[in-house]
Amino acid sequence: MNEVVIRFEDVSKQYRLGVVGTGTLSHDLNRFFARVRGREDPTRKVGVANTLRERSGDYVWALKDINFSLNDGEVLGVVGKNGAGKSTLLKLLSRVTAPTTGEIKVKGRIASLLEVGTGFHPELTGKENIYLNGAILGMTKREITSKFEEIVEFSGVGKYVDTPVKRYSSGMYVRLAFAVAAHLEPEILIVDEVLAVGDAEFQKKAIGKMQSVSRSGRTVLFVSHNLTAVEQLCTKGILLQNGMLKMEGPIHDVTTAYKKSSVHESELKRSGTRLVEFQKYEITDGQGRTTDEVMLGDSFRVTASFTAKEKMDYTDMTLDIRNDANEFIGHVTNSDDLFEIKNIEKGGQKTVSVDVKEVSFAPGTYYISLWLGNNYGTFDYIENCIRFSIKQGEGFIRRPYPFDKRAKAVLKSSWKIEDRR
């Protein structure tokens, strides 16, 4: 126990941006001559830190100088935004591609699940696909045969194993694919976001399976946007930002740091013509006090100021609300309230505030994206720029047992009982 099973030593990965085509040959020749003359690879120098917004140069470091190690039996959660390098890290470890510099040392057999059902062929039956997929994931025929019954039972498609999988419902397909993967017995398991598939019941089953894998002393690397699942499963975490390792430590410290860091203006995804442009925005509670916590059932207020570069007859403003799994949960727009934002002079500044009443989303973390635009297009759109969380208060959920986390909303209700006539 407590033996290092994975060690990253100064691992970096460089990618070429844009289309590979014209120019590849000349780049290759450049590199070759540089090597012949004993100079540094000229294409290495132009590599820039991986910020999605700024791309100077043709090359980008998807990962830069990553160092960490993992002991056996640990479950590592890898968190970070899209493009932070999470998938690249898993790809290197799964040997899909090789690092540009550095070394990755591994002890034990690795199985990676970057997707479920890799290599499934629609014309083949469920049974044939179990064997094929199992073999692609590194099992021998003998191993698969010995686990065949278990796999079929876990997947719950028993009756249909002799039917081509193209006749399966998408749910059955995913369940069968996950079942094969779940019965791998590697020392190290790499999982990327596969839990995002399937229904709630199946996800529960899948998480249970992963927990039992880690309990049996094997090492798991898990990448997901679903922070709840990460916190539930993992013991240790690393936070990636722009291809660099920002933090390593106990999972709760890492996810907390991630939540805090995830609303940094410099990294916000922003688009639009900017004819009208947001200047400032904030979230306050119903009484106008600055907060990022809202009690379930209470209201909150979003206040946004914007400036018009040109005279603008009218514009609409919307709020898109997403949860931390990036699912689109709620939508608010001024036109639903027959409220008009119009006749803005060139250079004019306005501040709009909107009260969202009786919030009924399930407790958790949420992100608001702000949009300004009209029929002619988007002026300004800032994705996930306001983060807030909804807390379970006494006033709304009064049940004595915990709230069922699978539900996405809590609905206000009234009850009545009568004698049957």
Binding site: V20, K91, R95, V96, K105, G108, L124, E128, T140, K141
Partner: protein, 290 residues
């Protein structure tokens, strides 16, 4: 054990594998490939089953193609152009050439797309990439065998009708010939597939290049009909001795030229070594460029 394994000092760190940016050119791990033999056999099965599911004629398609091509050749080259066939019944002459050539061309065509066609699988999971082209060569062998049996039926028919066919002991050369044909197809195929990951132009070349190549191989004409001054060019083609010998041992015309065969053998071995080395180098990072 893995292809990226590099021997480390077992005393200090006993890692199972170390992933490095570059590995030495000659580090090919055939033992790992052997571990994945079940995967290869399952790929073969998949190809076979998937190809003919939901077709009415099913595996009959294996023989329809050479049959129709043979008939076309008989009409065009045999009767209209009047190219002689060394006194062998035209059907047998063309069909034996076509069956042998088909195996080579399907191996080459199919394996040359290894990286492009399987990018989605290769991008998600690791297994020795060579498993894919090898399984292609084996599943094409299955169709070759079916076509070959079909050819034997014709051979028997003409023999019974009293055609001058004398099949001798050198028939024992057949497995060796088939192996060389497969090796040539595989060798060219994996070299092309490795190069196409960066330079996509080659995919265009392969399509018609292979069909032109057929005319540089004695399939529609016997080698004996080639004027002396062109003969060297036709003989430089490593497929020529193989197709010639294939016809000789089956139909019993002419004698086996072992010197030419030796040339094909050496060519194939060198090609395969070069191919595997290039393939092996490309497979590690092709996902970044494909």
């Amino acid at each position: 054990m893995s292809s990226t394994l590099e021997k480390t000092d077992y005393g200090t760190d006993h890692w199972t594998m170390i992933l490095r940016p570059k590995k030495s050119l000659f580090q090919v791990n055939l033992a790992e490939l052997w571990q994945y033999r079940d995967l290869i056999s399952l790929f073969v099965r998949r190809d076979f089953v998937a190809k003919y599911k939901q077709t009415i004629l099913g595996p009959l398609w294996f023989v329809i193609q050479p049959l129709l091509t043979t008939l076309m050749f008989v009409v065009v080259f045999g009767n209209i152009a009047g190219i002689p066939t060394d006194g062998i019944p035209q059907v047998l002459f063309y069909m034996s050439g076509i069956v042998g050539w088909n195996y080579f061309s399907t191996c080459l065509n199919d394996t040359s797309q290894t990286f492009l066609k399987n990018a989605s699988i290769f991008g998600k999971v690791y297994f020795p990439r060579l498993a894919m082209p090898i399984s292609i060569v084996i599943s094409n062998l299955v169709s070759f065998i079916i076509q070959f049996l079909f050819l034997l039926c014709f051979l028997l028919y003409f023999y019974l009708k009293g055609a001058d066919i004398s099949t001798g002991v050198d028939v024992l050369l057949l497995p060796f010939l088939v192996l060389l044909i497969a090796g040539l197809g595989l060798g060219f195929g994996i070299i092309i597939s490795s190069l196409t990951t960066k330079y996509r132009d080659l995919t265009h070349l392969v399509g018609f290049g292979v069909s032109l190549w057929m005319y540089a191989t004695p399939i529609i004409y016997p080698l004996s009909e080639i004027p002396e001054r062109y003969r060297m060019f036709v003989l430089a083609n490593p497929m020529t001795p193989l197709i010639e010998t294939f016809k000789t041992v089956l139909l019993g015309v002419g004698t086996v030229n072992y010197l030419y065969l030796l040339y094909s053998l050496v060519f194939t071995i060198v090609l395969l070594i070069v191919g595997v080395l290039i393939f092996n180098k490309v497979e590690r990072t092709f996902m970044d460029t494909v």
